[in-house]
Amino acid sequence: MPASLELRDIHKEYGGRQIIKGVSLTVAPSEFLVLVGPSGCGKSTLLRMIAGLEEISSGDLLFDGERVNDWDPARRRIGMVFQSYALYPHMTVAENVGFSLKLAKMPRAERQQRVDDALRTLQLEELHDNKPSQLSGGQRQRVAIGRAIVRNPNAFLFDEPLSNLDASLRIQMRMEISRLHQRLRNTVVYVTHDQVEAMTLADRIVVLEGGVIRQIGAPLDLYERPANRFVAGFIGTPTMAFLQVARCEETSGRLAVKLVGQDEHTPLLELDTVASATRGEGPVTLGIRPEHCRLTAPDGAMLAGTVAMVERLGADTFAFLDLPGAEDTVAVRLGEDASRIAVGDRVGLQFDAEKAHLFDAGGIAVRSPAR
């Protein structure tokens, strides 16, 4: 039975160091929630607290409205894939996967059936009788997944379950997890570093940074309307470019900006945002994604710079520009013109103001493009 999860102002510290600093969050029954965030931000810790493996320093954890802080992991009936796999070294692949069923006293025949099914799904049938020490990294990870999915828990907790798989297997596994979720409708909390996974699997994505939630929302929402510079920069590859705004001006209650590096006679960039939004002090930043940029001739372009690097990925080619007002190189997705661009070229950058994001001095988004 899918469970609803609720986290109320959860804190966690390790020997005085605050790791989770007040996380509140509700996960609806059958929801697929993806947790992303930089390395060390506390994702695994959060997952382990939900599982009951780590003590909650303060705050309440509720399953279906009931406080479970003190429940035993077993009682919470969850399936979990550990980031470190944590396979039982003395058991074969099949035994590892079937262990929880055995504990649940499922009859042997039925158990074998379920284990075989899971192994087939995970393309592990051949390794049925291998010990974990005889498996490759990806094979171990799949066994760990098998162990979690073989029974039907209230909720699944996945800690980077696909990180060691190759692209095609990863797509398959991703679909498999998705299909599983479609079928079982369990509640899922899923940690990943893979944005494609996050975007495709999630009902909602939670972005965590330093133990604090920075944004919760549907995948495309996060991509298209990041609430702050952190989320904007974290979601999307290559990263959104941030351009410093030199000057903001009001024109009929609306905002127009001039970017650092634009010379005097370039026209102001008009944004359909009320000017009051940027009343705060400090520099304002404009953000723009690679796919919304175009390269032009340097003359008459919004900004002019040089190509620092070109990445040819096959399907796409990205140019990375050194620009005066940018904090980092600015990524531009190239189209047909890809083959003509080379490192060192002097080029112009052009983008659609409609697609630009604007962040105030505190990094809070004051404008996001309309859908």
Binding site: E55, D70, P73, S84, Y85, P132, G137, R140
Partner: protein, 298 residues
């Protein structure tokens, strides 16, 4: 924490039961020690007056420190103590190095014959010391050694009456090697491999990787080998007739005559035992859950 983990999920009643069990067991295990300790503060009459009752284990009634005064004041207990300390620490110290190195070589290096040696080791465990003590005595009685005579270092005809006759034969110890061997084999291979990649020689792998990951066994072997040396009796009795190299355990014999002052014996026994327990308490700190495995994924 293992199975009996006392995370917050342990119910209060379970924890209470555990404590109760531990205390009960503690009583069962501690009583001879208490008996010894209590008796060491009593006269012979008092000891027997309390024997067979709970009073044998609880220091009640007339207590006296006379036994300690007597034991410390008569004979060379401090000298014997020093001898025992030297014998034990040297044997343990050398033994840790020599035996762990041998185990490392058996468990972690590839060489021909190492499996044969490992099986031989088990067989050697079986030989009881009693079975070889006399032939060993024949041997050391004829081994040339070094000794001091009139302040000069001289070559002696035998090892009798020395400290090293109580040390050298016991440094290499099949049991210790076997214990190290078992433990070393369970350390993940990855650690060695990483070190070899880092440019380590086998001995550096031993020094920097194996030894630091094996604190619990080192503690175990220290305690066990130290204990065996500290309590050694038969061997020094045979090979060390003089008092200059006599260890503590042998010194206790002077209190057994036609009649025995048990108070003195118990005081002496307490003096022997307490340092070992103290050493145990120090070493056992190495038994905190170590971190093996947390450096690896999977």
């Amino acid at each position: 924490m293992s199975v009996l983990s006392t995370g917050r999920h342990q119910s209060v009643s379970l924890r209470f039961a555990l404590y109760a069990l531990m205390l009960l067991l503690a009583l069962v295990f501690v009583f001879p020690f208490l008996f010894m300790l209590t008796a060491s503060f009593r006269t012979n009459e008092q000891i027997f007056a309390h024997s067979g009752s709970i009073g044998a284990f609880v220091p009640t009634g007339e207590l006296t420190t006379a036994n300690y005064a007597y034991v410390l004041g008569n004979g060379n207990i401090l000298h014997f103590f020093l001898n025992s300390v030297i014998i034990t620490t040297l044997t343990v110290g050398l033994g840790l190095i020599v035996n762990s190195l041998a185990a490392f070589s058996l468990a972690r290096l590839q060489w021909r014959g190492r499996e044969a040696v490992a099986s031989l080791l088990v067989v050697l465990l079986v030989i009881p010391f009693e079975a070889i003590s006399v032939p060993l005595m024949l041997l050391v009685a004829h081994l040339p050694g070094l000794g001091f005579e009139a302040g000069r270092l001289v070559l002696t005809r035998s090892w009798l009456n020395t400290l090293y006759v109580q040390i050298l034969p016991f440094v290499a110890n099949a049991f210790s090697i076997y214990l190290f061997y078992q433990f070393f084999r369970s350390i993940p291979k990855d650690f060695d491999e990483a070190a070899y990649i880092d440019g380590a020689t086998p001995l550096q792998v031993y020094r920097h990787v194996i030894v630091p990951s094996s604190k619990p066994v080192f503690a175990t072997v220290s305690i066990l080998q130290g204990l065996a040396m500290w309590n050694q009796y038969l061997w020094p009795v045979i090979t060390v007739p003089g008092e200059s190299a006599r260890p503590l355990m042998v010194g206790m014999q002077q209190f057994f005559g036609h009649t025995t002052e048990w108070g003195n014996v118990m005081a002496y026994a307490t003096i022997i035992t307490v340092p070992v327990l103290a050493a145990f308490v120090i070493f056992q700190r190495w038994f905190v859950r170590s971190v093996i495995g947390s450096g690896v994924k999977g």
